[in-house]
Amino acid sequence: MLDAIGARSVEDLFAHLPEAVRLKQPLDLPKGISEYEIVRYFRERAAENASGYASFLGAGVYHHFRPVLVDNVVARGEFLTSYTPYQAEISQGTLATIFEFQTMICQLTGMDVANASMYDGSTAMAEAAMMAVRATGKGRVLVARSVHPEYREVLRTYAANQGMPVSEFAYLPEMGALDAEDLERKMDGLTAAVIVQSPNFFGVVDRVREAAEIAHRSGALLIVLFTEAVSLGILQPPAAADIVAGELQSFSIPPTYGGPYIGIIATRERFVRQMPGRLVGQTVDSRGNRAFCLTLATREQHIRREKATSNICTNQALLALMASVFMTVYGKQGLRELAEQNLAKAHYLAGRVKPRFGGRFFNEFVARVEGKLPDQVNKTLLKRKIVGGLPLARFYPELADSILLCATEMSRRADMDRVAEVLA
C-alpha cells in the first residue's frame, strides 16, 4: 500500500505536521488487553454496583420487564451497525421502523405528528419550550414546580442565553397537583408556553385541563410532559396539549445508570415546521412502490445552520427501535394490562403506606416518614436488600420528611410488605 501511495513508511504521512504540535511521548495509557480481560474488568465493576436488590425508585427512571424479543431484534447488525438513513434506497428497514414509531407515538399521545426522537425527556422538554417560543413569537415560559426537578434545571440552562425567562408556579400542598390560582396569577400575554407534567414528579395525575384553559386564554401554548410512558396505557392522553414532550425509557430501555434514553416531541399539524429533530415521511420510489425517506430536512442544522430549529443531529434510532418492539409485543391490550398492573401494585403499597398527597396517582406516590429520618428508613431497607423510595429533601426542602415511592409490575408483594413494615 505504501508503494502505491509513494511513501516509505506510514510515519511519512504525518511528516507535514508542524514539529511543535507533534506528541513526543506515547500516550500514558496501559497497553491493550484481550476480550476476556475486558469482560473481567467490567464484571468486577458490576460487582461494585447493587446486585439483586428490589427497588422502589422511580423519579423519572422506571423498572419494567423487558420483553426478550427487544434485545434479540436490536442485536441484528442491520439495525445495530447501520448509519443514519440518509440514503433511502438502502435504509428502508430503519426508515420503516421509525415511521411506525412516529405513528405509535401519535396514537398513544393523541397528537397529529411525532418526531423520530430527541436525546431524552429533559432535553425534549427544553426543545419543546424553544419550539413554543418560535411558534408564538413570545419569550416567556412558565413551568410547574411539580415537573421533574432535574428537567427544570436543564430548561434553565437552555433558556439562559436565549432571552427566555423561566418562572415557576406552585403545587397545592394537599393535593400534590398544580396550583391553578398561582398559575393564573403568574400568567401574562408575554408567555409562550406553560409546562406541566402528568403524572407529575410526585406521581399525581395533574390538572392538565385547568392549565390548558389558563394558558390558551392568554395566547400561550400548553406543553404536557410525561416521564412514565407506561401511564399512557391507561391515562387519558393530553388532548388539550399543543406539544407533548416525554421520556420513553419505560418502554424497554434499561435504566443504564442514567442513559442513553429516548425523548419524544409530538404536536399538532400546524406546528410541524417548528419541530426539531428528524422526521420520516412516506413517499414512492421511481417504480411506484411505497417507500420512506427523511423529510422536511430544511428545518435542520445541516441546511439551516444557525437558523435551524435545533442543533440536534442524532435521533436515538436504536432506542426508538427497542421501544417499537416493546410496543408491538405488548400491543393495544398489553399496554393496558401492563398499566393496570402498575396501578394495582402501587395502590396496594399505598394501602399500607399512606400517601401524603390527596391527588389521584398512577404508579408513584409521596409518603411522609413518621418518627424517623428518610435516610434511616432506607438504610434499614438496604439491609433487607431493598432500595427504598427517593428522599425528597434534595429537591423539595418543604418535603424533607418524605420519600417518593414507585411500584411497578416488577414489584413483589413480599417486598412491598417489608417496606410498609419498616415505614410503620
Binding site: 504521512l13 465493576r45 420503516a96 431524552d120
Partner: protein, 492 residues
C-alpha cells in the same frame, strides 16, 4: 460486470399496523399477587382513556418476522464499508455489547445510593481520565448526549468563563467549511455567527483571522483536521491570535481519529473540544443514535463544567454538587452511561499503542484511496490528506453527472455512498473516510467500483444519473415527501 452484488429474494414487508388483527397477543404478564384495582375508581373516570386506536395487535412470530424482514432492507457495517467522510464508521466490537449488557450495569438506577453505584462511577472516572490523556486536556464531562450537545455545552462554558472575566462577548467565528451543528449550537447559546472564509489552500486564513478577531469575538470553532481532511498547520498561531485578544479556541473533535497518539489538541492551543464516542470510539450508530459527546477542557474552564462532578472522597467516589460556577445541567442524570461503557471497552482493548496504530492505519487507508482515485476524480486541494479525502465532481459534471448520482451508482456496486456535497466549500464534493478497520481488499474493491463508475460517466452517463438500478427500492421522490408530508400511518 458488477460481481460484488447480485439480485436476491427479499420479502416485501408491510407496516406492522397492516399485519394487525384484533385480539392477537404477543405478550404474557405474570398474574397479579395483589388485588386488581378498578381504573375508574383509582384514577377518576375522566382520567381513564379509551383503547389506543389502531395500535398494533400481533403475535410474537409476526413481530420477529416483521423486524427480520425489515432488517434485510438495510445496509450496515455488517454488510460492508461506509466511506462516509467525518462519520468514522469503524467496526463496532461485539465485546462492547456484551459488557454493556451486564445486569448490574444495565439495571443501575441513577438515583441508587452512591455506595451501591461505585462500579458505575469508577467506569465514568476511568473514561474521563483516558479521554483527558488522549486529548491532552485537564478535565472532561461525560454529560452531553451527542456531539452537537457537547458543542452547546462547551460554548455555554466558554460564555460563562468570559462573562466571569467581565464580558461574554457577542460573536463566534465559524469557518465556511464547518459542520452545520457548529453554527446551530452557537445560536442556541445566544451568539451571533460570523463566517470566516477558508484560504485558497482550504485551511484557516491567518490574515483573515487577524482582521476579524475583535473584542466582540468570544471564540473560533475549528475542526482539526478540517472537513477537507487536512491538518490545520496554523492552528497554534490561530490560538495565539485568539488568546491575545482574550478569545478562546474551540475544536470540533469529530476528526479525532486522525490524531490519537500523534498530536493532542491540548498541546496545540485548544481551550475546549468535544468528542464523538460513536465516531472515534467505535460505539454503534444504531441507525442514527444513541451517541455521546463528552467535552474536554483546559483547567481555566474546569469550574464551569456541568454538575455534578465526580470526586474522590475517603477512597470512594461521590458526586459534588457544590459547584457555584457550573453552567448547570445540560440533561437529567449523568450522561449516556451505556455508550460510555462501550467506549471504555474500546479504549481498554487498544490501549495507548493501539490507539496510535488506529490513527496510523486510518490515515494510511485514506491516502491509499486518494492515490487510487486521483486519476479519475478532481482533487480540489493538493494538501496532504489525513484520515479522509475530499474530491469534487468537476470532471463528471461536464457530462452532466453530479456527486449525488455517482453516490447512487456506488450503491449498485455494493457500497454505501460517501458523504455527498459536503463540505460546502467544495462544489460537488465527494468526502471519503474509510477508517482503519477496512481491509486492503475492501479498499481495492471500493477503488475498482469508483473507477468503473468514472468510466461509465464517459460511456453511459444516463446509467449513472438514474442509479441505483439494483436495489429493491429505487430512487425515492423526496420532493413529494416534502411537498405533502405524510408523517404517520393512517387506516384507509
Amino acid at each position: 460486470m458488477i460481481d460484488r452484488v447480485r439480485p436476491h429474494l427479499v420479502i416485501n414487508e408491510r407496516l406492522i399496523f397492516e399485519h394487525s388483527s384484533p385480539g392477537k397477543l404477543g405478550y404474557q404478564l405474570p398474574d397479579l399477587d395483589v388485588p386488581a384495582v378498578e381504573p375508574e375508581e383509582a384514577l377518576g373516570p375522566e382520567n381513564v382513556r379509551a383503547a389506543i386506536e389502531h395500535f398494533p395487535e400481533v403475535s410474537e412470530v409476526e413481530v420477529v418476522r416483521h423486524y427480520a424482514r425489515l432488517s434485510t432492507w438495510n445496509y450496515s457495517l455488517n454488510t460492508g464499508m461506509y466511506p462516509l467522510g467525518s462519520c468514522t464508521m469503524k467496526y463496532n466490537p461485539r465485546v462492547n455489547e456484551l459488557v454493556a449488557h451486564i445486569e448490574e450495569l444495565a439495571w443501575a438506577h441513577p438515583y441508587q445510593p452512591e455506595p451501591l453505584a461505585q462500579g458505575a462511577m469508577e467506569i465514568m472516572a476511568r473514561l474521563e481520565a483516558a479521554l483527558a490523556e488522549i486529548t491532552g486536556m485537564d478535565a472532561v464531562t461525560l454529560q452531553p448526549a451527542a456531539g452537537a450537545h457537547g458543542e452547546l455545552t462547551a460554548i455555554l462554558m466558554m460564555r460563562a468563563a468570559l462573562a466571569k472575566r467581565g464580558n461574554p462577548r457577542k460573536k463566534i467565528l465559524i469557518p465556511d467549511s464547518a459542520h452545520g451543528t457548529n453554527p446551530a449550537s452557537a445560536a442556541i447559546a445566544g451568539y451571533a455567527v460570523d463566517n470566516i472564509k477558508s484560504s485558497e489552500a482550504g485551511v484557516l486564513d491567518l490574515g483573515a483571522l487577524e482582521q476579524i478577531v475583535t473584542g466582540d469575538v468570544a471564540a473560533l470553532m475549528v475542526t482539526n483536521p478540517n472537513t477537507l481532511g487536512v491538518f490545520e498547520e496554523n492552528i497554534m498561531q490561530a490560538a495565539g491570535i485568539l488568546h491575545a485578544k482574550g478569545a478562546l479556541l474551540y475544536m470540533d473533535g469529530a476528526n479525532m481519529n486522525a490524531l490519537m497518539g500523534i498530536a493532542r489538541p491540548g498541546d496545540f492551543g485548544v481551550d475546549a473540544l468535544h468528542l464523538n464516542l460513536h465516531k472515534t470510539f467505535s460505539t454503534p450508530h444504531g441507525g442514527g443514535g444513541p451517541g455521546a459527546g463528552p467535552v474536554a477542557v483546559k483547567k481555566e474552564l474546569e469550574p464551569f463544567l456541568p454538575l455534578p462532578r465526580l470526586k474522590r472522597s475517603a477512597k470512594r467516589w461521590a458526586y459534588d454538587y457544590k459547584r457555584k460556577h457550573s453552567i448547570g445541567r445540560v440533561r437529567a442524570f449523568y450522561g449516556n452511561f451505556g455508550v460510555m461503557v462501550r467506549a471504555l471497552a474500546y479504549i481498554l482493548a487498544h490501549g495507548g499503542p493501539g490507539l496510535r496504530k488506529v490513527t496510523l492505519d486510518a490515515v494510511l487507508n485514506a491516502n491509499y484511496i486518494r492515490k487510487g482515485l486521483e486519476p479519475y476524480y478532481e482533487l480540489p486541494y493538493q494538501s496532504p490528506s489525513m484520515h479522509e479525502v475530499v474530491f469534487s465532481d468537476q470532471r463528471q459534471a461536464q457530462k452532466g453527472v453530479h456527486t449525488g448520482d455517482i453516490a447512487k451508482r456506488l450503491i449498485d456496486y455494493g457500497f454505501h455512498p460517501y458523504t455527498v456535497s459536503f463540505p460546502l466549500i467544495v462544489h460537488g464534493a465527494l468526502m471519503i473516510e474509510p477508517t482503519e478497520t477496512e481491509t486492503k481488499r475492501e479498499l481495492d474493491r471500493f477503488i475498482e467500483a469508483m473507477t468503473a463508475i468514472a468510466h461509465e460517466v464517459e460511456s453511459d452517463p444516463q446509467m449513472v444519473k438514474t442509479a441505483p438500478h439494483g436495489t429493491g427500492t429505487s430512487r425515492v421522490d423526496e420532493v413529494a415527501a416534502a411537498r405533502k408530508p405524510v408523517l404517520r400511518w393512517k387506516p384507509a
